[in-house]
């Protein structure tokens, strides 16, 4: 075992930080805020990353990458997530939509879709969840039927992040009625500008930008936009979803918050003139968070190590996802307790401690155990595939 990033990767981290310091505008607070400037900015930002070969660096050269080692790729994941993910939705293209196309796409599809992804020119969203198909994803009912030389899609997706800005949608839908619900699903690549698609934002605790409903009303999708075998969409979806679970370096944001909390606790005095950091509960809270931050980071790195050794499994990404997302919840709550009553005040309020950082994190931590496969589903994966327990 070896617990150090390669020197080149660390050097690259410095370069990337300098680039981000220069490129991130003062108003940038993170991806999910109520601000119309966000998506146009992320598109511009991704194109600049692409110019430097930093957007899809771990992809093979033939698909617009530079075959970078996995640890340089991890540096990008960490630095981006730490900064509130200024790539916008494009981390999904990099982490699993692109790799899915490489695994299942035709030569034409690869040519058509991968290059624009690598150039940072295109935003994708993921059309999986439906009102009646959340954790039970295979119960989805959006239908693609055969019409004149194309599929005709009808149905509804929900909790679709980035749908207002996305150019394309990775759509899992039902093309055929199989004997089992996992059969008859297919993966379609859908142009979001096709007539019949309606996107309706859902106002959520995280603001108006975070989630959407997407309605499909007789949407024509050409047959050449079927990804992978017809009726085999479940396998296509599952093949790369494990990548998604470590694709966002959830631990990286924890480090930013932890450093901010340590600084706050050592420099803020309580009513007796003592730094908050002298309180046993504060000391205990920060120590617990620090150890868990290390563990979250290592659990994520373990998945990447295994992938690069060709020894990947389904269980370790689930372990990493549960641990990291629950750590994000924990630091939100410990952090709010440390900043105290004024932790209720939102970003932008002059009296909000740390400019509302903990308040903002707490809100955005709520979906983490739910997104990317709920933690209950992850625990099913761990107990069934990892420990051999019956379904």
């Amino acid at each position: 075992m070896e617990f150090e990033f390669p020197a080149e990767a660390e050097q690259f981290r410095e370069e990337l930080r300098a680039f981000m310091d220069a490129e991130l505008p003062d108003w940038w607070k993170g991806l999910f805020h109520d601000d119309d400037r966000i998506y146009p900015f992320t598109r511009e930002f991704c194109m600049k990353l692409a110019e430097r070969d930093w957007l899809t660096m771990s992809w093979p050269v033939e698909h617009g990458g530079v075959d970078a080692d996995v640890w340089s790729q991890m540096v990008v994941r960490e630095e981006m997530w730490a900064a509130g993910e200024p790539r916008g939705p494009q981390y999904m293209s990099l982490n699993y939509i692109g790799p899915m196309l490489m695994e299942f796409g035709t030569a034409d599809q690869q040519e058509r879709f991968l290059k624009p992804m690598a150039a940072g020119e295109v935003m994708w969203c993921q059309g999986f969840s439906e009102p009646e198909a959340g954790s039970d994803l295979a119960a989805l009912s959006t239908r693609a039927t055969d019409a004149d030389g194309c599929f005709l899609v009808n149905g509804q997706k929900i909790w679709t992040s980035y749908a207002t800005a996305a150019d394309w949608c990775l759509l899992l839908c039902r093309t055929d009625l199989g004997e089992r619900k996992h059969q008859g699903l297919s993966m379609l690549l859908v142009d979001m500008n096709t007539p019949g698609i309606t996107v309706r934002p859902i106002d959520s605790m995280g603001g108006p930008q975070e989630f959407n409903e997407v309605f499909f009303d007789d949407v024509e999708v050409p047959y050449d936009c079927l990804l992978g075998p017809r009726g085999d969409g479940w396998r296509v979806a599952m093949s790369t979803l494990a990548h998604e679970r470590v694709g966002a370096a959830l631990h990286a944001r924890v480090k930013v918050l932890l450093d901010a909390l340590i600084e706050y606790a050592t420099t803020t005095k309580d009513e007796n003139g003592q730094p908050l950091a002298t309180r046993p509960s504060v000391r205990s809270g920060l120590v617990r968070l620090q150890a868990r931050y290390r563990a979250a980071r290592l659990l994520c790195y373990r998945v990447v190590s295994a992938m690069s050794a060709g020894d990947a499994n389904d269980v370790d990404p689930a372990v990493s996802k549960v641990f990291s997302s629950e750590l994000n919840i924990l630091i939100g709550n410990i952090g709010l307790d440390i900043v105290g009553a004024r932790g209720q005040l939102r970003t932008g309020d002059g009296l909000a401690p740390l400019d509302g950082l903990m308040n903002d994190h707490w809100v955005h931590s709520i979906p983490q155990p739910i997104a990317m496969g709920t933690n209950e589903i992850q625990r099913n994966i761990i107990s069934q595939r990892g420990l051999g327990l019956p379904r």
Binding site: M1, E2, F3, E4, F5, P6, A9, W71, M74, I262, A265, T266, A277, T278, V282, R283, S284, L286, V287, R288, Q290, A291, R292, R294, A295, L298, L299, Y301, R302, V304, S305, A306, A309, D311, V315, D316, V319, V322, F323, E376, Q378, R379, N380, I382, S383, Q384, G386, L387, G388, L389, P390, R391
Partner: protein
């Protein structure tokens, strides 16, 4: 960055697992626990012969030249087998301590004893009236023209009855701390075994005017404290790896039970109230293992790892206490019986959480290292 076991570590794991499967079963664990010395003496002797107990000692004194990280792989296997060996005390504490003090003829002699004979050298740090290893000692070192003597008593000394040498922390009449190597057979040393929860046999050791050679005082003052810290850091991480092995034992038994026990017409492992507890045990055990491995690696590299050692112990204490009860809950009443194997693991795991720095003590150490 590479979190996969390397070839050496895989060899240690596979070799130790095979060896322990062949030589130790739960019944023999029970026999050892009931014996006077409480140690798997034959296993320790064979491990010494195989070079495993001296794996992390430098090659120039006959060790294997490997690191604490490699030793952790062995410790986990010992934990899985619920073996009672002085690996943590001897290869963890004593070996590290003896390399951290100013080298003398005595320390060289003790290290070569460790390297060649499988001898047990064990720490005697917790004062009979003290809270833990780091509390001030009321046992006293007297140095006069007539000779050097020690007096006092130590609690919870592991493996004292089979030890050749005890590394005893003391205070001089001037209030300076010191560590003295005491032959366990020296006149005036008496030991009685504690009844205790865990798998390591612990002894109350009294020193009644024990005469020791003047050069057996191995370190004094800050140097003594620093060497004790170094020894405790290594022992803490090694003990964590051993506890991870106990957790693996708990997970194995609980998974087997949950996969076979039926209630309400179904195997209980199909209920998520049960299976999700087990998933959490898997998650937290993996986290403990990785924290211990990274910390061991840092110590091997010579990095300052005070924060990491203490933080690892705080985390392990917290999650292992929960795991103990989760494992018992999954088992129901059967897990509480002595004829069932679960208690072999859960007692060891719970004792670990109180040893090598309890949560309060390690939280404070970590907080200071974190700059709080």
């Amino acid at each position: 960055m590479d979190l996969m076991l390397n070839d050496t570590q895989e060899m240690i794991r596979d070799g130790a697992r095979r060896f322990l499967a062949d030589s130790l079963d739960p019944d023999s664990v029970r026999e050892v626990e009931a014996s006077a010395d409480g140690v798997n003496a034959e296993i320790w002797a064979q491990m010494a012969e195989l070079g495993w107990t001296t794996l992390a000692l430098p090659t120039d004194i006959g060790g294997g030249g490997a690191g604490l990280a490699d030793l952790c792989v062995l410790a986990e296997e010992l934990g899985r087998a619920a073996a009672s060996t002085p690996l943590v005390a001897t290869a963890g504490f004593a070996a590290t301590f003896l390399q951290a003090v100013e080298p003398t003829a005595v320390t060289r002699d003790l290290l070569s004893t460790l390297a060649t004979s499988g001898a047990v050298i064990t720490p005697a740090l917790i004062d009979a009236v003290g809270r833990d290893e780091r509390s001030a000692s009321s046992s006293v070192l007297f140095e006069t023209d007539a000779g050097t003597t020690i007096s006092g008593a130590k609690a919870m000394v592991p493996y004292a009855s089979v030890a050749r040498v005890l590394l005893v922390s003391l205070t001089t009449p001037d209030g300076e701390s010191a560590v003295v190597a005491v032959n366990r057979d020296a006149a005036g040393v008496r030991w009685t075994r504690h009844g205790a929860t865990g798998g390591d046999p612990l002894f109350h050791v009294e020193f009644d005017n024990v005469e020791v050679p003047a050069d057996s005082v191995l370190a004094r003052g800050r140097a003594a404290e620093r060497a004790i810290e170094a020894g405790l850091d290594a022992a803490t991480i090694l003990a964590t790896a051993e506890a991870v092995g106990c957790c693996e034992g708990m997970i194995r038994l609980a998974s087997e039970h949950a996969s076979s026990r039926q209630q309400f017409g179904k195997v209980i492992g199909s209920y998520q109230a049960v299976s999700h507890r087990l998933a959490d045990m898997r998650i937290n055990t993996d986290a403990c293992r990785l924290l211990a491995a990274e910390t061991a690696w840092m110590l091997d590299q010579g990095h300052d790892a005070r924060l990491e050692v203490a933080g690892t112990k705080v985390f392990a204490n917290e999650v292992i206490v929960d795991m103990v009860h989760a494992a018992h809950t999954v088992h129901g009443a059967i897990g509480y019986t002595t004829e069932y194997d679960l208690q072999l693991y859960t007692r060891r795991a719970r004792a670990f959480c109180l040893s090598h720095g309890d949560t309060d003590a390690q939280t404070e150490r970590a907080a200071v290292a974190l700059g709080l």
